[in-house]
Subunit: 462 residues, 2 copies
């Protein structure tokens, strides 16, 4: 089968998609109205997207300027939202971030197992260590970066261990004999680690995908290690082809060192397309979106996000961005900070350049015709820079509809994207096998079970 693009759709779970909430055609009530997100999900499923993904965080900013001008809150709980979407969709994957820093693995394992059952095999867990929130979880501040990733590794070990509590055929449900389950097909986890002590078993059966899909987005060294070990779908923020190829080769090589097949780890850089039937129409749409942004609010948010110790809102738009002698250490999105610093060093942009470039939240911005965008996607894909894209719509419903009705048909015409789903589960869409239970060989397979502590992909690659 020809290799084709994978397409994910990025959402925030909040009222608004993108920064242009004041645009006359932007929906700004999706935090209250489930029917908004439902319509997006159904449109994307009609366009054969692989998955929709919900970002999450566990705090809300409190400074007056941010509260007054930025739709950072409210935000749906992603599991509640995905569970509701699951019963109104049939094929599209349902992925959400849940934090390893501020949750317990037993609860997370249950929720995603239940979502996978409910959706008949379409659940995905985006493993995040979070960019903040400690103040809401009994801490004075955010957990330290290194400690977060150490905890994340152990957290995923526990969750995946719990998912293998029961053999696929453990539950017999035999009314005649009275046997409900086979005790020999239960494995108690008994995890005793530095961060967690979890006995198990999970009070959930194995789910349709074996394990819900594991996605991940960290691009720091610690993030790449986690991705290489467990990640199956990776969201990245590569800004140019060279960066993207370097990341792609690096992570696939790391995965191979864990005994995984490179094609079992799919890399989807984020991209924000602004689409017009002509370049002039696309440019005009982009200008209208930029005009509907709150410039000081975006500059404040960017100053905070970049963590460079610079107040961009206090500079003139024509000033060159002043980079400090020493780049301050950040405790979150380390890799995003590095991308930004490298770009500022090499390009010496003005504040206006940075403001425009950063309009996709640090992701790549593409403004053009469907052909232009398809050319770009095809070039990256064929150059070995990615396996697909995580599409961040510039607005809803407009930007989403433009992509589905203009870009998707162009990708299909080029045989780069499916015209219909060929499988049922998210793993099917991504070309990933169902994950077998590490402790129990399938009934039809007399081979010995894999080792209990083997990394997951040795199993899927076997």
């Amino acid at each position: 089968m020809t290799r084709t693009l994978k397409l994910g759709a990025y959402f925030t779970g909040s009222a608004v998609q993108g920064d242009s909430w004041r645009h006359p055609q932007s929906h700004i009530d999706a935090d209250q109205r489930f029917d908004r997100y439902l319509s997006y999900a159904q449109r994307l499923e009609a366009a054969c997207f692989d998955a929709i993904f919900f970002f999450d965080n566990l705090f809300a900013a409190t400074d007056r300027d941010t509260v007054a001008t930025t739709p950072q809150a409210p935000r749906w709980d992603p599991l509640v939202l995905l569970s509701a979407l699951a019963t109104h969709t049939r094929r599209i994957g349902l992925v959400a971030s849940v934090s390893t820093s501020y949750s317990q693995p037993y609860n997370v394992a249950r929720q995603f197992a239940a979502l996978d059952q409910l959706s008949q095999g379409r659940a995905g867990w985006n493993v995040v260590t979070s960019t903040g929130g400690g103040e809401n979880f009994n801490l004075d501040g955010h957990l330290d970066h290194a400690l977060r990733y150490e905890r994340a590794h152990e957290f995923v070990e526990v969750v995946t261990g719990l998912w293998d509590s029961w053999a696929d055929d453990a539950f017999l449900r035999d009314k005649v004999s009275g046997q409900w389950a086979d005790p020999d097909k239960l494995r108690v986890l008994g995890h005793q680690g530095k961060h967690f002590q979890v006995r198990g078993p999970l009070n959930a059966a194995r789910s349709p995908q074996g394990w819900p899909l594991i996605s991940q987005a960290g691009s720091s060294e610690a993030g790449k290690d986690l991705a290489a070990r467990f990640g199956e779908m990776l969201y990245t923020a590569a800004q140019d082809l060279g960066q993207a190829r370097a990341f792609y080769d690096d992570v696939k090589a790391r995965a191979a060192r864990h005994g995984r097949l490179p094609e079992h780890i799919l890399i989807l850089p984020g991209v924000m397309p602004v689409i017009g039937r002509t370049q002039a129409e696309a440019d005009a749409k982009f200008q209208a979106l930029m005009a509907a942004r709150d410039q000081p609010a975006v500059l404040r948010a960017l100053s905070s996000y970049a963590s460079l110790g610079i107040d961009l809102a206090g500079l003139a738009m024509s000033d060159r961005v002043p980079l400090p002698e020493v780049i301050p250490e950040t405790n979150s999105h380390k890799s995003r900070q590095k991308l930004l610093v490298d770009w500022i060093r090499s390009e010496q942009p003005t504040v206006q350049d940075l403001y425009t470039r950063w309009s996709a939240g640090g992701h790549r911005l593409l403004v053009g015709t469907p052909e232009h965008i398809a050319d770009d996607f095809q070039h990256w894909f064929e150059a070995g820079a990615c396996d697909g894209f995580n599409v961040m719509f510039s607005s809803t419903p407009g930007g989403l509809e433009d992509f589905c009705s203009l870009v998707v048909p162009e990708l299909q015409r080029r045989h780069l994207f499916r015209r219909q789903y060929s499988g049922r589960t998210l793993r099917d869409h991504l070309g990933l096998p169902r994950v077998p239970n590490r402790h129990f060989a399938p009934a039809s397979d007399p081979a010995p079970a894999a080792q209990a502590d083997a990394p997951p992909s040795e199993l899927t690659a076997a």
Copy 2:
């Protein structure tokens, strides 16, 4: 308006309702098939039930006998299940247990706020301290009873505090002025307690009910204190009218001491009806259900649940139940143990008597015609023993359908139960007002806001 019965429906979230999974007509796959629970919810909504409720726990037994014979696992995650049900129902309340011992208040506050938004005001949180599970949450065993309740009080304080993070009209969403929210309508919680340190604010808006409904089920002294302070719908296991009236008077008096109106705390004893058009038909249905139970498995489960140090499965059915000299201290369901001990002391039952009586999981069993069951409900209701009942169906779909098609019409004929919903939210159904924000008077009300640390019912009773 005439006072009418409130009816809740009890479910476990597992594959089977009741202990008679081997009954030929019992569904035994509701843990895998969402459409089963959907059909129950829609049938109950057609019958105008106030709410459906999902029990939960955070562990699964591992002893071979229990695993082999008892459908104790798998079980749905209740928030995933309720979120899916929310978009397929319009009026019925959606209530689930979530543990204060093994969750974090920020996460719980978000989930129920989201469910309340999704369901347009039908969410309820059953506050439980859990009967076990510590081994899955970094502990050597279950948290101590007193510590659990101390933690529960603080947990509910934090959750309700987070629910009041934003005024109802905090989010302006004004595209023209560019004002998203009013910073003066945000209150940061800043909770610093013994068990929790939670800064806030919640990244969710106030939900349709103000606060999701708070239900509760503990009947120990500590449980009644928690109920009197926060509980709005209480599930109990009263076995006879005297017990039920004593509990009713006790809890309503305790609530009054917290400044709450007695009618703002609704008490729903659990009851399992087995219904026939004639008494003989009802008796035959009960016998068929009993015959479909696994007697040793039920006796083992009862021995474990009762925590009396007696192995009932090792006795003859005709033996009198031997009560030990000293009743062992239990760390869970203290009140249920006491009810059982009192009953054994006064009745001196045989193992068979206990087995039969305990067939409703410690709740009251009623076997009879619709008229008989309606008589009983009416008697308890008019005698001041309850505000309604939490109905535990002996089986699904049979027992549920019998109740909806036979008992509900009889209650309606007597004007004891609604023929249609008159309100939209769960609080509407229960006659409870929407909870105002403690920090912000409604826009139309110039009265000063209530104190930040006032107990909730001073607010609702004002």
